[in-house]
Amino acid sequence: MTTTPTGATRPTGSGPGRLLVAIYGILALAATARGIYQVTTKLSEAPLAYLLSLLAGLVYCVATYALATNRRSIAWPAVLVELVGVLTVGTLSLVDVGEFPDETVWSGFGAGYGYIPLVLPFLGIWWLWSTGRAHADAKAVAGPPPVG
């Protein structure tokens, strides 16, 4: 972990973040493409599930963009929405409520996508937190020296 002398945060898209953004991007592409396909071809079958599917995809797009361009204030809510989404939809699909099963990236806690949708928000939160801490550490180091 490197901290810059200016006290700037570590860019969220560098180092290991490069990989995180790449995985987010692939999931964003997969989920959005699937959502568009579902909404355009069979929306009437299960409107709620398919719109949610598309929404999930768009949230991943936002998270990818925010993490890639180091926009923390956008990345935090996007990642948190994903966490809430995957836990909520995952639980609902387990107890088999209505139209949820197997129709979104978040169904079955992302089982259809190798559980990556379940793991990613935690990785995202950890990454945002740890790169943000670099900011705090850098400020502490760059702070005024103690008097005396």
């Binding site: 180092g15 490069r18 990989l19 953004v21 790449a22 692939i26 493409a33 355009t40 890639a68």
Partner: protein, 119 residues
């Protein structure tokens, strides 16, 4: 879809993934030659898309068109973006990105094959 091209894409993806894995091991960033490797895969994907399009128009093979072309477009997008994203990073992580991208394209090829066969 034609079997030789699908197999070729699969083999090329695994080859690029292996190359990238080696670079991860020896702690190197993606080099230009690897991007050319990605371009070869991309060329094979374009050929495959054209052939599939011709077969669908001329032949009597039936496929869920929206699903199939959705996968084709997605698969075409992955490598160029991932390669550019990987190349801008000059650490080992750039090779990890290329590795993941190559495996993703390979997996999409497998799904594409499934969609083509099952319809």
């Amino acid at each position: 879809m034609i079997v030789p091209v699908a197999l070729l894409v699969g083999v090329l993806c695994l080859a690029l993934a292996g190359w990238a894995t080696w670079f991860v091991v020896v702690d190197r960033a993606v080099i230009l030659r690897q991007l050319w490797g990605g371009a070869v895969i991309e060329a094979a994907l374009v050929v495959q898309a054209v052939v599939a399009g011709v077969v669908l128009v001329v032949g009597d093979h039936d496929v869920d068109a929206a699903l199939f072309w959705g996968y084709v477009i997605t698969q075409l997008i992955v490598l160029p973006i991932a390669a550019a994203w990987a190349f801008a990073e000059r650490t080992r992580w750039s090779s990890v990105v290329l590795l993941v991208a190559a495996l993703t394209v390979g997996f999409l090829e497998y799904r594409l094959w499934q969609i083509w066969e099952n319809s």
